[in-house]
Amino acid sequence: MKKISIIVAAMAFSSGAFAAGEDLHAAFQTMMDTSFKTTGIADKYRMKQLDFQRICSAEKEPSKKVMEAIEAEQLKTIRYPADGKYFGDWKKGEKIATSGKGLTWTDKTRFDNGGGCYNCHQLSHKEIAYGTIGPSLQDYGKTRGNGNDVVKYTWGKIYNAKAFNACSNMPRNGDAEILTEEQMKHLMAFLFDPESPVNKK
């Protein structure tokens, strides 16, 4: 008897909490729908979340299983260079890594974006204005070599970081069409070329 009442109490509690959560969720949706507007290239539609964005918007990281499912889905989005060539010009790559411009409502075009790499990563031995949100990538090629696996992995990471860490802070440069294939090749050269200041002091 006692056991039953505990179960009933637990059910009542959980349904009550569920209802409150539902109300809050609905209020949140209304707030987001009414609080934003389209300005320039930044369409109001940008507030709609992709599934993984929604799952990665909780205070706590999702479970390992959920993360792995997202990563498997995101991995499918990666397109490797059709011509099999992974490396462009590291000097152009450095410029792309330095530029943080693009995709804001004050930008005229949604193309011609920077990579914004220095916002979060240390790269060149010579650049001291680097952020620390991501890991240091200094000596990237020097310490990792240029074997097929690491080259392919690095391309994938730049193309869609969520394929390797579901809730990564890093944008999906290729998948979200932030950078072009050519720009990503320049970034690859910046990371791997022995003459690049990432690897050469």
């Binding site: 209020a27 707030m31 300005t39 964005q53 220095y118």
Partner: protein, 271 residues
């Protein structure tokens, strides 16, 4: 004379920042230049000029109703400015809404002076009626400098706004998948050379919330909290938040409640 001195100091600072490049020694030098500049203007923040205009505006009869704002109730009673912004946002019975400083001022300007809120919602930063808003904000937040951050969370509407603000803080969207947490959800991070407060913590929220609105040296502009949040979203690559919209108020409630007990140091002085 005083203004001239400020311009010279600003020019010196810009030169210092412009020198930022290759070596760590130069970076330290620039950081020193910023520190020296902060020291020099510690009792002469450029916001003072804006605040003085705001104080005049507060007392000036304006708008279709030709009235001043001296009867505006910012939460501590009609006309009370001292300490008022340290306790905002708050729930206001007369509007039945939670309001931040700027939406409350919009209400006062509409009811007392007859100024259409559209002038702000559709306005441009540092232009027209918005420039008046900025001056008023500079005046009002100066009057809370040194006060403790203390918002009244007793009303259920405030609790709801806190929860909604927290959800917004973690909300990832847009082409770069960013949320507020991308930059402000971990301790001890920086973006390029700029230190980022962890706004989930009391200390981080106090450092952030407590030092805005602020004068921005790089742009030579006074920025309100609405302007600060607007530019955060711009850099997140989302759509643009509407001026005074609920999401901006909800985020403000979340930040101010998290910062509780911290000290208001407004107007702040920023890079």
């Amino acid at each position: 004379m005083r203004q001239k001195k400020l311009y010279v100091l600003l020019a010196a600072l810009v030169a210092g920042v412009g020198g930022l490049n290759a070596t760590a020694a130069l970076a330290d030098e620039s950081a020193d230049a910023i520190a020296r500049y902060r020291e020099m203007i510690a009792d002469g923040n450029p916001s003072e000029l804006v605040a003085a205009q705001g104080e005049q505006l507060w007392k000036t009869k304006r708008g279709p109703k030709n009235a001043s704002l001296e009867k505006c109730d910012l939460g501590l009673g009609p006309g009370v400015v001292k300490g008022a912004s340290a306790q905002l946002p708050r729930y206001f019975k007369d509007t039945g809404r939670v309001q931040d400083l700027e939406t409350r001022l919009m209400t006062c300007m509409q009811t007392l002076q007859g100024i259409d809120p559209k002038a702000f919602v559709d306005g441009k930063w540092n232009k027209g009626e918005m420039e008046n808003m900025e001056a008023l904000v500079a005046f009002i937040v100066t009057e809370s400098n040194g006060h403790k951050i203390s918002i009244d969370m007793s009303n259920p509407q405030m609790k709801k706004m806190y929860e909604l603000g927290k959800m917004a803080f973690y909300h990832r969207s847009g082409p770069m998948d960013f949320a507020c947490t991308t930059c402000h959800g971990a301790e001890g991070k920086r973006i390029r050379l700029q230190d980022l407060p962890d706004l989930r913590t009391q200390a981080g929220a106090a450092a952030g919330w407590g030092t805005w609105p602020a004068y921005r040296v790089s742009s030579g502009e006074f920025w309100t909290m609405q302007h600060r949040l607007n530019d955060c979203y711009r850099q997140q690559r989302t759509a643009e938040p509407i001026y005074g919209s609920d999401v901006t108020i909800a985020l403000s409630v979340y930040l101010a409640a998290t910062a509780k007990g911290g000290t208001v140091l407004t107007p702040g002085l920023k890079r």
